[in-house]
Amino acid sequence: MLEVKDLHVSYGGIRALRGVDIEVPDGKIVTLIGANGAGKSTLLRTISGLVKAESGSITYNGKEILGMSINKILELGIAQVPEGRRVFTNLTVLENLRIGAYLRRDRDGIQKDIDWVYELFPRLQERSWQMAGTLSGGEQQMLAVGRALMSRPKLMMMDEPSLGLAPLVVKGIFEIIREINRQGVTVLLIEQNANMALKTADLACVLETGTITLRGTGAELLTNEAVKRAYLGE
């Protein structure tokens, strides 16, 4: 279980997170919704070690991970799918997946996981030899997810996987998220597409200007008047 307690993060004088508390129980899909600039990505980047926190604590299975190096956090089983996909455009699909397993040294296991990812995304197998930059947006998102899976994560954090994708493709991505979750990976999902995210998630939180203002199950928040007004457009 991932537990974030009273987390404060500042970026060059701007306080992005002001005392965030959030829990991600094992085996669940937890989603975090909020407007642009609410601090969603900052939270995710702080958990993965890319951004340093000011104060607070982040524990994973009881172990403090705040201040650990990115490698150590990744080795504990926390991987992330960065915002805007960020695949390595001049590497092939296969090379991208191999980079995802960069910290692993077990050859056979890596090959097995490549097969697993190809099973999840048959599209990627067809394009195995293509440069990632030549893939469509949806395929790149699949690749970004596959790449994160290559580190064999127990917890996968996804930053706006629906960004810039057609509704039908978004639906496919969310189905995959559910499938990955069914196979035992905990998911922390950040989304602007509140409708889709809340329908998929077990638990949900609303982040507003650096603090959590609402929390509940996905279904609860879906019917919440305030959420409806602010994020679902009714």
């Binding site: 960020r86 390595f88 980079i99 960069y102």
Partner: protein, 391 residues
């Protein structure tokens, strides 16, 4: 198009490259014996010698600029370190006092002599090799020190900083106070050079003056290719494509950039040592930033990111500037005798035009990001497809 290979094809290509290199080395050895200094084809040997120096320099720069995406312009500086290290440690003790005529030489031994006295002729060769490797290590050590502050910078700023450091290295080498080591602004000479490289087997005497630099370049380039194709190489390319994503994958940016920078500089140092043994002099004023730009030009002409492109680019560049276009400077070109137009400097005009044409029509350089092996593999696959379609 870049081709992804099956393990089977990979093995095949590795062997193919290995034997192709062996065959090329054999050919060079043969040419070395057949072409006499008086022959008009002697320029071919010069081109092979200088071309292999520049090929190694370009490939090592490509490792940094093309594969890791670190735009560094310090290559001439590291080649200078390599050339000086090699020269200083191979000047025979008998010639020391004539070389360092204004100073009291600080280094009083030479590797070829030390090893030669202990082990005979094989020791002399070993001494030269040791000096070459030391040249690389010295350049790598300087690269490490310079890299500590400089590698935090990105793109243009990195280019400016490395360019600056290269100029500083050159200035320091010419500094009077370092005279006992570097001979100040005077040149270093009389050290082990290619024209002296020979293999005596009984009564037969083999000239190795072209073979040795080509061999050193071939072995070094093979090592670099191995590195590029390893997991490290993949990490370098990931850093080039997207630093943040690479970091999120657990790639340690500082460490990998440093590895790329020092390895690249090591081979720049080796190239510098080769430059010294080919030109048979070492002088700091030769290693100006113009040399870095020349190497960069070869990398760009060949195709940024392509090792075989860098090699092809440098041999074409050297052949054109040293051999094919020489006539433009000396009065007669392609049988046309026009001393009024074809005189000193005209070659550079034509050369610039050619480069512009190449850059305009080959936007990605000659090879793009492909390797020769990709071209070969794609051809092979197309042939196989045709065969299957024919059935």
């Amino acid at each position: 198009m870049k081709a992804v290979r099956t393990p089977e094809e990979n093995r095949r290509i590795s062997w193919f490259c290995f034997f192709a290199t062996l065959a090329f080395l054999g050919l060079v050895l043969l040419l070395d014996q057949l072409i006499k200094p008086t022959s008009p084809m002697y320029m071919l040997l010069t081109v092979l010698q200088k071309g292999s120096v520049y090929a190694l320099a370009a490939v090592s720069m490509n490792l940094l600029n093309g594969c890791t995406g670190l735009f560094s312009l310090g290559h001439a500086g590291f080649m200078l370190i390599g050339a000086y290290t090699y020269a200083i440690f191979t000047i025979p003790s008998a010639s020391r006092d004539t070389v360092y005529q204004y100073y009291d030489a600080a280094v009083r031994f030479s590797f070829p002599e030390v090893f030669g006295n202990a082990m005979g002729p094989a020791g002399t060769a070993l001494g030269v090799l040791v000096a070459v490797i030391l040249a690389g290590l010295m350049a790598a050590a300087f690269a490490y020190l310079i890299g500590l502050p400089v590698l935090r910078l990105k793109s243009d700023y990195l280019a400016i900083a490395t360019l600056g450091f290269a100029e500083i290295l050159r200035a320091v080498c010419q500094w009077q106070k370092l005279g006992p080591i570097t001979n100040g602004s005077n040149l270093l000479k009389s050290f082990a050079r290619v024209s002296k490289f020979k293999l005596v087997l009984g009564s037969t005497k083999l000239t190795l003056s072209t073979f040795v630099p080509v061999l050193i370049a071939a072995v070094s380039i093979m090592i670099i290719v191995k590195l590029i194709n390893s997991t490290y190489g993949r990490a370098f390319k990931a850093i080039r494509d997207d630093e943040v994503a690479a970091e999120a994958m657990g790639i340690n940016l500082a460490k990998h950039k440093m590895i790329s920078f020092t390895v690249s500089s090591f081979f720049a140092g080796v190239a510098g040592a080769m430059m010294a043994m080919v030109l048979s002099i070492a002088q700091a004023s030769n290693f100006k930033s113009a040399m870095t730009y020349e190497i960069l030009l070869m990398v760009v002409l060949g195709g940024i990111g392509s090792t075989s492109g860098s090699v092809i680019g440098s041999f074409l560049f050297v052949a054109a500037s040293e051999w094919w276009l020489r006539g433009l400077d000396s009065g007669t070109f392609l049988g046309i005798n026009a001393p009024n137009i074809f005189r000193n400097g005209f070659r550079l005009v034509v050369f610039s035009v050619i480069i512009m044409i190449v850059v305009l029509f080959f936007r990605q350089g000659i090879m793009g990001e492909r390797e020769l092996t990709d071209v070969w593999l794609n051809r092979r696959r197309a042939r196989q497809k045709k065969k299957e379609a024919g059935k």
